[in-house]
Amino acid sequence: MSNQSAAGVELLTSTGAVKGLVRREAFLWLAIGLFANQALQLVDTQSLQAFADSLANQNYVVWLAFYAVIRRLYLSDGAARASRFDVVLVSTIGVAILLSSFLPYRVAIGLLATAMAGYLLINHDGDRNLKAAGAVLLALSGQLVWGPMLFQFFTPELLRADAAIVGTPLTSLRPDIVWTGTSFLGADGHAIALIGACSSFNNVSTAVLTCVTIAMLTRTEWMRRDLATIAIACVAMVVINAVRIGLLAWSVSSYRFWHEGAGVHILGIGETLVVLLIAWQGAAAPRRVP
């Protein structure tokens, strides 16, 4: 079967069936297909109101990463012809995207994005833009599929870790708050229990994606300090989330403000700005000492 497919593709290429198809265009089609399908998973299309609400609650770093991949692919060599392997890959993933659209979950698109990222990282043929696009796509698939999958299996452990980060300083500041496992109980009866959405794991995943995206938007090569930037961004996200959980456990009024009131937007915008600032600072060219 695979021999037949390879022979078919060879025939296509040798007879000029895909004559003129350049790598850049082939990969751009694939990336647009992946992102168009992924975008549908990120927005709520049930009603106009739901659509507007879902737009307001988007993780815009993911959209920035979409843009970064498209931009890097667009800047790649526009003269390099698509090889037979490129054609096989693009055809296979294209058909897989079509078939996966029957499955309304983002897992399938994430897996296909991982496959494309792997191909770009391994088979870039010296084109740095393709390699950079592959790096962002890999970080993107980590955020969209591998991170949530890992979180699925280790939710209680990760929540206990988050609670431990908050619990020690919180109980020293407020000895009346009783910390047990993943829950905090105040003397006034106010109690909170951490669930999946409270975890800093998603923020850490977003921090990694932001740093990779910004770095690969500004240049196509990795620098040693990129690792430090990612580490700083991750720590910042964990600290902000710990402060948030502490505020939620503090009192009923604090909980209402930071969980249901304007505090939600303040924290959301604050987190985004902090991670973007760290990423931009890390991606900027290092100053040369004269």
Binding site: A36, L103, T155, A193, I195
Partner: protein
């Protein structure tokens, strides 16, 4: 086949995938919106003839979702806590049930004496794939339930919780039917 034809083919595949996914998403979102685990659990309890007990905790507390019911053979009320399959239930359970209470987790075709998150995820994956081909008789939502019963409570008749996720029961509930057909079909 020239370049324009290849581009046309790519565009066609792209549009087709978007249209199909849009339809599939709409169907899934509608299914998720209609699925009310509290009502489904209540239906199953009522069909077994057990009396429901009021939950003193009100929303927005997570514990407001707990459903209490009384078995005649037990002195204390039993309870059902719906939860997402990857959610930590231990913390919540300790607040509503005694540490000695017996616990059993139910999700689709499976049941476990502990919160088997991986097994539940695999159950969800299995029925999600089957659902694509219309071969799943369950709604593949990621909501499981845990039943906690007082120590010393030995039920005469075990409850079959699978109808909670059954499409048949769900359709009957949405259209105002009794859902008895689903129970008969299952048992």
């Amino acid at each position: 086949m020239n370049k324009a034809l290849v581009r046309g083919l790519c565009l066609l595949v792209l549009l087709a995938s978007v249209v199909i996914r849009f339809q599939a998403n709409q169907a899934r979102l509608a299914m998720m919106a209609d699925f009310d685990v509290g009502a489904a659990v209540t239906d199953v309890i009522r069909q077994h003839g057990y009396a429901l007990r009021e939950n003193p905790v009100k929303p927005p507390s997570l514990l407001a979702g707990v459903i209490y019911f009384q078995r005649p053979e037990c002195q204390q009320a039993s309870l059902v806590l719906p939860h997402f399959i990857n959610e930590e239930t231990q913390t919540l359970l300790t607040r509503v049930a005694s540490p000695q209470a017996t616990r059993r987790f139910y999700y689709l075709d499976g049941s476990w004496s502990y919160q088997a998150r991986v097994a539940m995820f695999l159950e969800w994956a299995r029925f999600s794939v089957l659902d694509i081909f219309g071969a799943s008789h369950y709604i593949p939502v990621k909501t499981a339930i845990v039943l906690a019963e007082a120590p010393g409570c030995h039920p005469v008749t075990p409850i079959d919780w699978r109808p909670v996720w059954e499409k048949h029961r769900h359709r009957s509930a949405v259209t105002g039917g009794s859902g008895d057909g689903a129970m008969e079909a299952e048992t």
